[in-house]
């Protein structure tokens, strides 16, 4: 029988894995298991153009005409419920199992919900295509939106909703939004975009609860303030989809624990994308990266590991972007608390700048707002510097 690789999770990381397997001339069976009924689609537009109604389903499909030659066996609308590592088989919700010589874990992450929001209409999270379709329908009929959480997804939903003409309030527990990824100074600069475009941003404020019976009517803050809302979007981060692996013997932490190449503690099992907590020598710990480019690029390395190709791993220079209120934000590198942010081009006031983060006088990360050309050059430079240093 020809060898089989089972890919669990039919999204960006799963599809990229299938492509990488064929790129490496693997010609066995590839079975891709996905609990959503949809073929792989792109998530970033779900908070941007797709939510705005300017991108169609066809626009956001990830598959390219070349992918038809990959010869994939799709098992869509099917949930993996367990992994028997000794028998190397993936157990499925329909009672069947898939015996495989290699297993790729690419189950991504899901949006965290607010406790107590179950069963209340008008309260949404945004992770899947179905989430986006429902939210878009509700936004077109609504006047007031409250977004809980001013992270990237929260900020993008706020921006899109403003574009649709809604009155928007964003509530953030932290004193400064995006301080985690960008540092407090730059987080504050990016958060100014909200006020520029008429979105009210309340920071340092917790949410006490949601008000309404049957349907949400308001969000109550810890200081007692009531924010009336027709629709509430909860954007408070994501949790890795790894519960189904409990008891499988695969080591879990904040995600599936892997070495720098993506290999888990079980031979023949690798993990990629948002569900993987990959060992980072630079950070000296496992890091779970929730960015598109990571899910796109990481599979090439993990597939090499799976197929036993012992080549060195290029140290990654993480990259992500965000589009808010017409501003393009791009970030690359490994920033740590204490790195010094220096504006090297443009100005924050003009909403067009390039900032370099330095540690001991050396650039370690770069942030651009509306500076794609210069940003691209800096990102390349960082990659060469990191490659040279390793």
């Amino acid at each position: 029988m020809s060898p089989t690789v089972a890919v669990v999770g039919a999204s960006l990381a799963g599809l990229s894995t299938a492509r990488a397997l064929r790129d490496r001339s693997y010609d066995g069976r590839i079975v891709v298991i996905g609990d959503e009924v949809h073929l792989p689609y792109d998530r970033p537009p779900l908070s941007k153009d797709f939510l705005a109604g300017t991108a169609s389903l066809e626009d956001i499909a990830l598959g390219t005409p070349d992918d038809e030659d990959l010869g994939l066996e799709w098992r869509l609308g099917t949930t993996a419920i367990g992994l028997d590592h000794l028998g190397r088989s993936v157990l499925l919700s329909d009672g069947s199992g898939i015996r495989a010589d290699g297993v790729v874990l690419a189950t991504g992450a899901r949006a965290r919900r607010l406790p107590g929001s179950e069963g209340l209409d008008g309260v949404h999270v945004l992770r899947s295509l179905d989430d986006a379709i429902t939210l878009r329908q509700e936004l077109t009929a609504a006047e007031r939106l409250v977004v809980i959480g001013a992270g990237f997804i929260g900020a993008e939903v706020a921006s899109t909703a403003r574009g649709l003409g809604l009155e928007v309030t964003v509530v953030e527990t932290q004193p400064v939004p995006l301080a985690g990824p960008l540092g407090a100074a730059m987080g504050a600069v990016c958060a100014e975009l909200h006020a520029d475009h008429g979105t009210r941003l309340l920071t340092g404020t917790g949410v006490a609860g949601l008000v309404g019976s049957g349907r949400v009517e308001a969000v109550e803050l810890t200081d007692g303030t009531l924010l009336p809302a027709d629709v509430v979007v909860v954007g408070v981060g994501a949790a890795p989809n790894v519960e189904w692996l409990a008891g499988s013997g695969v080591a879990l932490g904040n995600g599936v624990l892997t070495d720098a190449r993506g290999a888990t503690n079980i031979p023949g099992v690798v993990a990629v994308g948002d569900c993987a907590a990959t060992w980072s020598a630079a950070a000296d710990r496992h890091v779970r990266t929730e960015h598109w480019t990571n899910a796109l690029e990481q599979p090439a390395t993990a597939v090499a590991a799976l197929l036993g190709a012992g080549e060195p791993v290029p140290p990654p220079v993480p990259y992500f972007w965000s589009d808010q209120y017409g501003a393009r934000i791009q970030f690359a590198g490994l920033r740590r608390e204490g790195d010094v942010a220096r504006v090297v081009e443009g100005s924050c006031a003009d909403r067009s700048f390039l900032v370099v983060y330095e540690r001991d006088g050396h650039p370690v990360a770069v942030l651009g707002m509306n500076q794609p050309r210069l940003f691209t050059r800096w990102r390349r430079q960082l990659r060469s510097a990191v490659a040279a240093a390793s």
């Binding site: 792109d42 537009p45 990830l62 791009q330 794609p372």
Partner: protein, 106 residues
């Protein structure tokens, strides 16, 4: 024909954008000039801002690659090619002919 710039203003490895009905990106690859649609076919990014590697341009946003000679996608996520445009150099000035493909097809 749309004038772009003097040849001396576009050294090897550089790119520039010209406004036309659809903006056009013009590249200098080791002394040879190429012109393609500037807007990436994936989403909204200017390819003139991208990274030039030989005859391939990598989009600055999500790294789709296009072949400057043919406009074809050489790396996803983009699914559709960009159009190429003919480039003419006359008296030290670069011109593009929008709507005329690099291989001469209209």
């Amino acid at each position: 024909m749309i004038p772009v710039c003097p040849t001396t203003a576009l050294p090897p490895g550089e790119a520039t954008r010209v406004e036309a009905d659809e903006p056009i990106a013009v590249f200098n690859v080791d002394g040879e000039f190429f012109a393609i649609d500037d807007t990436c076919t994936h989403q909204d990014a200017s390819l003139a801002d991208g990274w030039l590697d030989g005859c391939a341009i990598e989009c600055p946003l999500h790294a789709s690659c296009f072949d400057l000679r043919t406009g074809k996608v050489s790396g996803p996520p983009a699914k559709t090619p960009v159009r190429t445009h003919r480039v003419v150099v006359q008296d030290g000035t670069i011109y593009v002919q929008p709507g005329v493909a690099a291989d001469g097809a209209a």
